[in-house]
Amino acid sequence: MANIKISEKNLKTVKEICKSFGNKGGEVINVLHKVQGEFGYLPKEIQEAVAMELNIPVSRVYGIVSFYSFFTMQPKGKYPISVCLGTACYVRGAEKVLDELKRQLKVQVGDTTSDGKFSLNVLRCVGACGLAPVVMIGDKVYGRMTPDKVKDILGEYND
């Protein structure tokens, strides 16, 4: 079987989190939740370390990570973009905004740009339906979005 290649620091973090859940296999979802909170995402070696610490097959860990859309194996960008595809945003053209973001960033939903700057995701309703369609970058909300505005708002993050 292939070996696990992981940094000492990351292994220590995983071990501590697993231990805080009693190293119980049944806690794997809670553990993954916490571990993703720590690292921002769940790369292969982190999943392998979780499996080892909880003494469960790594196939099961990957099965869970690949099933729940909450879990991700992609590192988040410096500025995570979320496009609302809730009903209100959708009927007011959110998909066109999303397509424009995909085109300009050259990424698909769930991916991160190669420079690590932006990651693109979709979600359902941020509770600002009056401003539909809504895009969030980090914690900042952009309302009444149109494809034309995409270039400008991305430009705000030229650091």
Binding site: M1, I4, L11, P57, S59, R60, Y62, G63
Partner: protein, 587 residues
């Protein structure tokens, strides 16, 4: 008891019985696909996912899956109403809409449960045109995976995790992209897979199949410069007949030898012969370890058997701290290969490179075992190719032969004679019983009062017994299924509280008779039971039933090996194990 009506017929069943089983009891056979059971062998897969078994329950809005719905008092069930038949057909049509229709070239052609279902429902066209799954094909030395054909029944996942505790396979992704896969969709060969192949045995379709070596063997047979030697495992002779329409449990030993000869093998030998040899080596090793402990010296107990390559791979991957527990004796397949290419090649005056050794095995793991580096000399394997029972059946048919019409012939000499002790290697508990027959007589110097150790027979997953060796109580355990083996290893690691001296482990349900290379049993555990009965029938009918009384075994020690566990035996008939566990490399 619960009373209900199924298709206008009153049925009475025990509480907790599913509609599926209640209907079967009433002679109504609801079709299934994902559902799989080995009755009495602790294996049941019922995710209720495929919906092929849906039935109409009066008073319920939705159709109910019969495999996962318990009978209730007064229930009125329809298994063949227009609504049910329509839904069932739609379900199968939808499954087929994402299934390659290359049945003619499929390994499972004729053995496929989806094919049988489509035939039974009379499906003539698939009205739905949708996306087709496209996954990378993958294979190990034993197992091929073509997940485009996967129907997500999850039988393999249940087998791999619950019964084998191997954990190589898991359902991944969701919705249309859901599939069964190793972690990170990497190669099965890089995972915790031990090549037991039970996923192949339970797969209803052609998603998981064996690695076919028929053409390799046919090529060797056609090569006039090669002397091709064949050995055939104990469990093959009680199952091969099924592929030719014979009743399960038919013994075809003589016909098998005749068929192999007609295929063109130069020497038709028997793995049973090397099973007797295994008993000599393993039995001697057991007695050696027990004697050491009795003399107050250090020795590792219990001794675990090492005949099963799935099990060997399993402990190498999962118990690297316990590699000194299993017997160092090679498996009968590899002992045979070593004897054939060392002793027998010399005897008939040929170079080992000009000899091809083929094994016929009930097993997929044997394909990986014979490829292990330590079982080759300068790249020349002791056993060149391993064919399964199913492949042999195909080969016999390809060579225009019918097993039914074969005469009864004997194996060739000198690697062809065997005892009843070797025959029972094929069933769970058999290696144990064979070893006890020999170890008892060697240790006590007395003749066994009875040869049948019934306490280690039968289809229970774990069996234990204490055998009286002239005042010395020998504690033995027998298990099949690697989850049972894991529990046993953990118990031993935690101090061996039950004081076991000797433990037999077989990976497959019921032992080799339920091996992954055997004819598909499609979940009918009666077939495994009948193969087991045949195994003990064959044993009872043998004139010699103790390995150490096999005259050809006695002769080879006299002529060649000297003594069991002697110097030459250690060189040729024993092996060592490797730590193949996952390790952490800290960067």
């Amino acid at each position: 008891m619960v009373k209900l009506i199924i298709d206008n017929r009153p049925v009475e069943v025990a509480e907790g019985t599913t509609i599926l089983k209640a209907a079967r009891q009433a002679g109504i056979h609801i079709p299934t696909l994902c559902y799989f059971e080995l009755a009495g062998m602790n294996f049941e897969n019922k995710p209720g996912g495929c919906r092929v078994c849906v039935v109409e329950v009066e008073g319920r809005r939705n159709l109910a899956p019969a495999c996962a719905t318990d009978c209730m008092e007064g229930m009125v069930v329809h298994t063949n109403s227009a609504r049910v038949l329509n839904a069932r057909r739609t379900v199968v049509e939808l499954i087929l809409s994402d299934h390659p229709n290359d049945c003619l070239q499929c390994e499972k052609n004729g053995d496929c449960e989806l094919q049988a279902l489509a035939k039974r429902l009379g499906i003539k066209e698939i009205p739905f045109k949708g996306t087709q799954s496209t996954y990378k094909k993958d294979c190990t030395l034993s197992v091929e995976r073509d997940m485009d054909k996967c129907v997500m029944c999850r039988r393999c996942e249940t087998m791999c995790n619950k019964i084998q505790s191997v954990g190589a396979l898991s359902a991944i992704n969701r919705g249309f992209n859901a599939v069964v896969s190793p972690a990170f969709e990497e190669h099965l060969g890089d995972s915790s897979c031990v090549n037991c192949g039970q996923c192949v045995q339970v797969c209803p379709v052609g998603a998981l199949t064996l690695v076919d070596n028929i053409s390799d063997v046919a090529k060797a047979l056609a090569d006039p410069t090669k002397t091709v030697v064949v050995q055939t495992a104990p469990a093959v002779r009680v199952a091969l007949g099924e592929e030719f329409g014979m009743e399960p449990g038919t013994i075809v030993t003589g016909k098998l030898a005749a068929a192999l000869r007609r295929l063109g093998f130069n020497y038709v030998f028997d793995t049973d012969w090397s099973a007797d040899l295994t008993i000599m080596e393993e039995g001697t090793e057991l007695l050696g370890r027990v004697k050491k402990v009795l003399n107050g010296e250090k020795a590792t107990l219990p001794l675990f058997t090492s005949c099963c390559p799935g099990w060997v791979s399993f402990f190498e991957k999962n118990f690297p701290d316990m590699l000194d527990y299993p017997s160092t004796a090679k498996s009968p397949q590899q002992m045979f290969g070593a004897v054939a290419k060392n002793f027998f090649a010399k005897k008939i005056g040929i170079d080992r490179k000009d000899m091809v050794v083929v094994s016929i095995m009930p097993c997929l793991a044997k394909k990986s075992e014979c490829a292990r580096e330590e079982f080759a000399v300068n790249g020349n394997r002791d056993v060149d190719f391993s064919l399964t029972t199913r492949e042999l059946a195909h080969m016999i048919k390809q060579f225009n032969l019918d097993l039914n019409e074969m005469p009864e012939e004997d194996f060739d000499s000198p690697l062809g004679s065997s005892t009843g002790a070797a025959v029972i290697f094929g069933a769970t508990g058999g290696v144990m019983e064979a070893a006890l027959r020999t170890a008892y007589e060697i240790q006590t110097g007395k003749t066994l009062p009875r040869l049948d150790f019934t306490e280690v027979r039968g289809l229970d997953g774990v069996k234990t017994a204490t055998v009286d060796f002239n005042g010395l109580g020998v504690n033995v355990a027998v298990c099949y299924g690697l989850a049972n083996a894991r529990a046993m290893m953990e118990e031993v690691r935690n101090g061996n509280p039950r004081g076991f001296h000797f433990v037999e482990v077989m990976a497959c349900p019921g032992g080799c008779i339920g091996g992954a290379g055997q004819p598909y049993h499609h979940g009918n555990s009666d077939i495994i039971r009948k193969r087991m009965e045949a195994t003990y029938r064959e044993d009872a009918g043998k004139p010699i039933r103790k390995s150490h009384e096999n005259p050809d075994i006695v002769a080879i020690y006299k002529e060649y090996y000297g003594e069991p566990c002697g110097h030459l035996s250690h060189e040729q008939l024993h092996t060592h194990y490797y730590d193949r566990s996952t390790k952490v490399e800290v960067k």
